[in-house]
């Protein structure tokens, strides 16, 4: 199953938290993208602020990078632990760059592959850059794998220029010392080379940035949130940008306040968003019900992390699908989307706002730790081609005419008949035009109580039935609009299908393309909306399929159960709940097994 595409290079840096692993990695990433490389990165760091292991990985190649691949081509280990914990991921013929003293009991033992010892710590001291180990490493890496030093120098200047000239100089010196060490002491014995860029400078965004930028693109001008790993990046980006666009970013006192602030601002006419992780989404459950009942649109981003409870806050899991779909008391319609990669994160965020605005409904966008912290290059969006839905508000009937007619059930006994604005008028779509506070003549009271079309509290069975149906109709409208929202790759008549959601879909795509290349008759089915499920399209694409391989990063197969139970398909659920994303190599054998089994039957 060796199908290494040597045009791609995957390099990992591992070191102690605080040694600058992440910042070196990010510098390399950005410089690579600027020269026209496609890049995708991945990082983990311990939830402890200092100490513990930090890992940064970059994969780069001549085309869009859609997963982290299976094995490393290069491992840069800042210390023994970095080596011990990561060496298993290095290709047997990969390149190791390390800075520690192998001992007799713990040698650096590899059958093949090339090892280079670079005394990064020492050189950093020499450079007078107290925390410069990472720059020494970058210099060495650049020389070893043919990456132009000048780009990195420029990057250092841009990155540290704001701080002080002394910092720039120290870092540049460290970089050069690293490069020089390679030139002077090492003999290059490997083949791995950084791919050439195509000269088209690319943009690089993390998942968190893609979502924040998507929000701003969709017209978001109010954000309230509460810090939580790994979602805080969304908030911090918007804290900088929103004020420039005359918007506000509020750090709320807790997550409940955050979503409630959003609901208030949405009620008063802003496009709003909050971002959190599992524990915060759990806290928002009650207020999400209010959003559904009062019909106030809001986008809630959940950058999932490994639970339950506080769990492993810096590790990855796709564990919140159930909570997103079902985490409300009673029937509180909501929409669930889950981007699969950085570009999708940007686009789905715009989409989320469009749905929230058009249907006056809460939309939960399920991102993931491995997406939030992952950075990738993406093509520059063409803003002219992005649909942004803008609401039309209700207006007062001209010439004192009547309000649109409402159904007779809304005329309850004991209720005054004064013609007032029918905020919750029942149109077929389930959506009623609304007014904003400040608009004269259209006063009403948004409410979490059951109410009639005039927004008056009402508990009688007839009204209840009508209003429940109204809210449900809205849900059906969404299903109609997004009923076909399924991405399919491969043979339409394949008997073996694979399916996944979120970032696992992106990894799976990698595995599927590999198998399709090998001539396997399979197809991949990725729903682009998870609630309401695009049933019509899912059923169409699943008909004729005898086995579905579902891969998912959680312990119980939350999505696998949907496929198995909702579509009555034989599902081979491949579950990974170890805090780390899938690799294509973990998926390919599962596809093979499914193919074999289906043939055997």
């Amino acid at each position: 199953m060796k199908a290494r595409d040597t045009r791609y290079v995957c390099l990992r840096i591992a070191g102690e938290g605080g040694e600058g692993v992440i910042s070196a990695g990010e510098l390399l990433t950005r410089v690579a993208a600027r020269r026209g490389n496609h890049v995708q990165t991945f990082k983990t760091f311990p939830s402890e602020v200092r100490g513990g292991m930090a890992v940064f990985q970059i994969r780069t190649g001549p085309e869009q990078v859609i997963s982290q691949g299976d094995y490393l081509d290069v491992l840069v280990a800042f210390n023994r632990e970095g080596y011990d914990r990561n060496i298993a991921d290095l290709e047997t013929d990969g390149v190791l760059v390390f800075d520690f003293e192998p001992t007799e009991e713990a040698p650096v033992r590899r059958r093949r592959g090339v090892d280079y010892h670079v005394p990064m710590g020492e050189l950093a001291k020499e450079a007078g850059a107290r925390f410069g180990k990472n720059m020494v490493a970058l210099g060495a890496v650049a020389r070893l794998f043919g990456f132009p030093l000048e780009g990195l120098r420029e990057g250092i200047r841009r990155k540290f220029g704001k701080k002080s000239e002394a910092v720039v100089t120290a870092n540049l010196r460290a970089l050069d010392l690293g490069a020089r060490y390679v030139e002077e002491h090492l003999e290059i014995r490997h083949e791995v080379r950084f791919p050439e860029g195509d000269g088209n400078p690319r943009i690089v965004l993390s998942g968190n940035e893609a979502i924040a930028f998507g929000a701003v693109t969709a017209g978001c001008r109010f954000y309230a949130g509460y810090p939580i790993t790994p979602a805080t990046g969304v908030m911090e980006w918007l804290a900088r940008v929103l004020p420039l666009l005359d918007g506000d970013m509020v750090q709320a006192e807790d997550e409940i306040a955050a979503i409630c602030m959003c609901l208030g601002a949405s009620f008063a006419g802003k496009k709003v968003m909050t971002a959190t992780s599992g524990p915060g989404l759990a806290l928002m459950s009650e207020a999400l019900g209010l959003a559904a009942m009062a019909e106030v649109g809001v986008v809630v981003v959940d950058v999932q992390r490994a639970g339950p409870s506080t769990g492993m806050p810096t590790k990855a899991e796709q564990g919140d699908l159930n909570l997103a779909i079902f985490g409300a008391h009673s029937t509180a319609p909501r929409v669930v989307l889950a981007p699969i990669d950085i570009e999708d994160a940007f686009r789905q965020t715009v989409n989320a706002f469009n749905i929230a605005t058009k249907y006056q409904i809460p939309v939960i966008l399920l991102s993931e730790q491995s997406l939030g912290y992952c950075q990738a290059s993406m093509p520059r969006p063409d803003f002219g081609k992005i649909d942004v839905f803008e609401e039309e508000y209700a207006t007062v009937p001209e010439d004192g005419g009547d309000w649109p007619r409402v159904d007779e059930i809304t005329v309850g006994e004991g209720y005054p008949m004064t013609p007032i604005f029918p905020r919750y008028i029942r149109y077929d779509s389930g959506v009623s035009p609304r007014s904003l506070p400040g608009m004269p003549g259209l006063e009403y009271r948004a409410t979490g109580l059951e109410h009639d079309e005039y927004a008056r509290p009402r508990y009688d069975p007839e009204n209840r039935r009508a209003m429940t149906a109204k809210r449900k109709a809205k849900y059906e409208s969404i299903r109609r609009e997004y009923g076909g929202a399924v991405e399919v790759i491969g043979y339409p008549d394949a008997e073996v299908a694979v399916s996944a959601w979120g970032t696992t879909a992106s990894v799976m795509r990698h595995a599927v393309l590999r198998k399709l290349n090998e001539g396997a008759r399979i197809k991949a089915i990725f729903p682009k909306i998870l609630s309401p499920m695009p049933d019509a399209a899912m059923e169409r694409h699943l008909s004729g399929v005898r086995k579905v391989v579902v891969c998912e990063m959680n312990d119980t197969g939350q999505y696998a159960k949907i496929v198995r139970h909702r579509y009555h398909k034989e599902v081979q659920a491949v579950l990974k709940d170890r805090g780390l994303p899938f690799k294509p190599s973990e998926i390919v054998p599962q596809i093979d097994a499914a193919l074999e089994e289906v043939v055997r039957i």
Partner: protein
């Protein structure tokens, strides 16, 4: 939008009162009727247009109030009104946002939001209809109930010291803190007018008897036990707290504390202005370049 735009004439709308046609669902004799009256009078005096007023409430008997005014309103969930109100006000600072609720709504489940709303000094008025009991859920102890109070949830008497809403709000950073009384509509009206005139977070604790579940503390009980303070509002927090705490028996009405400091909405407007002056107003394309 502005006050010049007049709302279309509508059958049944009173020329002056801002009350709606919905009849309050409260018990006859509930203190909250007095609060409605005081509010209506104050709003008329202030001359606010109805479409510029937003009542935000949580859950409780008192939190039903928004339905009884023909203005904008948001009847939210228990305890969260101050947070919702913050969103409303920041989205449109021209609106007059009034948060209303009960002692449980504000000072039990909603404490966190009240403390932080006060601290931020958001420019709105919060009116607590304090009946020292949970009315809507039919009589349980509230954070403002006195020790030994007998209720459904404290059949042997409450063992908790009541929170003093005035002291807590001053300690949290509210910049206008007053107490009024549902039966003294004139005082209530004047206090609301003053609070609305105050730029920043104004808190009014209104003694609003619930004779259904707090039978002892009905209007008769308060008669003669309520007096209006002679003292001026203090500008010093410790002083204001001293006045409140050293007052002996009975209930004191009045404005205890008033100070000026930047409002949250004002500071944010200022922040936006400063940020844009320094960094300019970027287009989407320009923002994109920050990722290059």
């Amino acid at each position: 939008m502005s006050t010049e735009t007049t709302a279309p004439a509508r059958a049944g709308r009173s020329a002056k009162s801002l009350r709606s046609d919905l009849k309050p669902v409260w018990c006859p004799g509930c203190g909250d009727y007095g609060v409605i009256a005081g509010l209506d009078k104050a709003l008329q005096e202030l001359g606010y247009a109805r479409h510029e007023i937003v009542f935000v409430s949580g859950i409780g008997c008192s939190s039903r109030l928004p339905y009884f005014f023909d203005t904008y309103g948001f009847h939210t969930i228990h305890g969260r009104a101050p947070a919702v109100a913050l969103g409303v006000k920041l989205a449109n600072p021209k609106l007059h946002v009034i948060v209303v609720g009960g002692d449980g709504d504000f000072f039990s489940i909603g404490t966190n939001h009240m403390v932080h709303a006060a601290r931020r000094n958001l420019d709105l008025t919060a009116i607590c209809m304090d009946n020292h009991v949970y009315g809507l859920t039919k009589g349980q102890v509230s954070p403002t109930s006195e020790r030994d109070f007998l209720t459904g949830s404290t059949p042997y008497g409450s063992v908790e010291e009541p929170v003093n809403p005035l002291v807590l709000m001053i300690a949290s950073g509210a910049t206008f803190v007053a107490q009024s009384y549902a039966a003294n509509v004139k005082h209530l009206r004047e206090t609301i007018v003053a609070a609305e005139g105050h730029p920043g977070f104004s808190f009014i604790n209104v003694i609003s008897p619930c004779h259904t579940f707090n039978r002892e503390k009905d209007f008769a009980y308060y008669k003669g036990r309520v007096s209006v303070t002679e003292e001026e509002a203090k500008h010093d927090r410790a002083e204001a707290i001293r006045v409140i705490l050293t007052h002996g028996e009975g209930e004191l009405l009045g404005t205890f504390y008033e100070t000026r400091r930047p409002t949250y909405d004002g500071s944010l407007a200022d922040l936006r202005r400063r940020a844009r002056e320094r960094h300019g107003v970027p287009t989407l394309e320009e923002i994109l370049e920050s990722f290059a």
